[in-house]
Symmetry: C2
């Protein structure tokens, strides 16, 4: 008979959390498991930035942790008891155990680990959620091509480290942004980034420009704030920006507190998984025949209408154009020449 | 022997253009055509918002019009003389004739028109660049699904009108934003939008929320400014925002003049055709096996490394987490339990 020690959320921080926002509680271990549940003893707990948002009482992509509730988190643990035919005591699993020594978990959310295939902590890092986040964001959204320049913020973090290494394996020039000389050295020497910059450097914008002589094709955003500001002017046409985190913003508290329109937009891009994509029609020239096949009969039979605002006389062209910018036209503005 | 009347750019406007920014010039018609060129007499000239940007001396997706140079524009015209076997006098063509009565054009940039298939002005509207812009942005980026809500700014303009009608044909709820009662009535009655709102209405944000009880799934952006501000809070998860124009911003002049960080970002999204897309890793769960197959051997052989920052003792969890948010960890932060 053992007690379970757990960290619960004691109060919601307004900005930076403090230790007093958490409370260590001791409760008896549950004796009863429902069918399909296992009792898991935590061996490793992953700590991740997203947890900061879960401490706010704000709508996000996951519900907030309630006051008095155990803090959420992914864990590697060992099964002690099982009410599932698929799991036996001694099995190693990764799952949502939270900040506690023991967790009762439904097996539906678990994945078994083979300790011989890779060290257990990698299930929380390079082969876990951070590694897969890097892979999905870089490969499926960023779509890096050989020779392109990929910039990674928080580049020695678990996501950023994987992004940089995966991009290098795709043949890209990789530029790390990290906090301090030690992390920058690690990014260059161990992670093999082509360049590494300290985000605390007052000359970050200039140094980033110098490190990206061909501009930036992919910026993997997991920081926000001033790094994003430095990146914007260097982005190439058709650059891709997977937005997977905004750690510099998390301590701003709820969305409305201290947020500029820009930080609010970026938060929405992240939380709502928005897609923004600029375009001009010539980017899609391969679809023009498809469009004309579809639309010509619909224009001919009146299903699709565009009102025409026809101005007679080429001498009236500038005035008509100025009216267009002021919204004075009504329909497609066309000048009819004599 | 005829003269050619043309509107050239006389000076670059700082904000709203005036008639004095253009100059009507009369020049003799060129007598010589090079091989592959035709002489075209303009019948219709399309006027479009993008022309405003071409008047600025700023990098955009097309080079600026030079001072003294004829203003650019798409025209429908009739071939008068031809040095191409593919074009004969009397052929009707659409091309980049510009703001002038006659143009010498290389045939590579021309498309022949059949006056019997559709009225000639439609080649500049519903079946021209605006119609195709609507189709490409809505169908290829917006990807509307039946039952979704599509909001269109400048909804009675040639692009917006096509967007709304195409979205209705896809089974979407369509909401128009237009300037004034007459345009709103036209949007409802002729274009068959489900709702229409006047962007000048001080209660635009509240009325837009009421018109979109299920939120917004696609916002076709061609205006910018306050309409965008009203749209942002209503966007649903995974909303798509094709950005094809920012007419409310064009008179701001060069990028740096009067631009906020937000307007500067949106201008870059448009001009550079950027893709922004928020994500969380669970959105890509179908790729997890692909990731593990790819990454596991690369982690095992050391090609992919993620440094682990392991903190011993569950009692240190909150302090470790607070350090994570402050950037004090170095590598994937993991708590090792006893």
């Amino acid at each position: 008979m053992t007690d379970n020690r757990k960290w619960v959320l004691a109060r919601r921080p307004a900005a930076e959390p403090s230790v007093a926002d958490f409370r260590l509680e001791v409760t008896p271990l549950p004796q009863q498991l429902a069918p399909g549940e296992v009792l898991v003893r935590t061996k490793f707990l992953s700590l991740d930035p997203y947890m900061r948002w879960r401490m706010n009482d704000a709508k996000s992509y996951a519900r907030p942790v309630a006051l008095g509730e155990v803090m959420v988190g992914t864990t590697v643990g060992e099964v002690l008891r099982s009410e599932s035919a698929d799991y036996a005591p001694g099995d190693l699993v990764v799952g949502a155990g939270g900040w506690q020594e023991y967790a009762v978990l439904p097996v539906a959310g678990l994945r078994k680990l083979d300790a011989a295939a890779a060290p257990l902590p990698t299930a929380l890092g390079s082969l876990g959620m951070p590694g897969f986040t890097a892979y999905a964001g870089l490969m499926k959204i960023g779509q890096p091509k050989a020779g392109e320049t990929v910039v990674v913020a928080a580049a020695t973090g678990s996501v950023g480290a994987m992004v940089g290494q995966l991009a290098r394996l795709q043949g890209c020039r990789t530029v790390a942004i990290a906090g301090g000389a030690e992390k920058c050295a690690y990014a260059l020497e161990t992670l093999k980034f082509d360049a590494a910059l300290d985000h605390r450097d007052p000359a970050l914008a200039e140094k980033l420009a110098a490190a990206c002589p061909q501009g930036i094709d992919v910026y993997f955003e997991n920081v926000g704030g001033k790094v994003w500001d430095a990146v914007i002017p260097l982005l190439n046409d058709f650059a891709r920006i997977p937005v997977c985190g905004l750690i510099s913003q998390y301590n701003l508290g709820n969305a409305a507190d201290g947020a500029t329109p820009m930080t609010a937009l970026m938060r929405d891009v992240l939380v709502k998984r928005l897609l923004l994509r600029g375009f001009i029609v010539t980017d899609f020239v391969e679809y023009r025949d498809e469009f004309l096949r579809y639309a010509t009969p619909l224009v001919a039979d009146g299903t699709l209408q565009v009102r025409e605002d026809i101005v007679d006389g080429m001498e009236n062209t500038p005035e008509a154009f100025i009216g267009l910018l002021a919204g004075r036209n009504f329909g497609k503005l066309i000048v009819r020449f004599a």
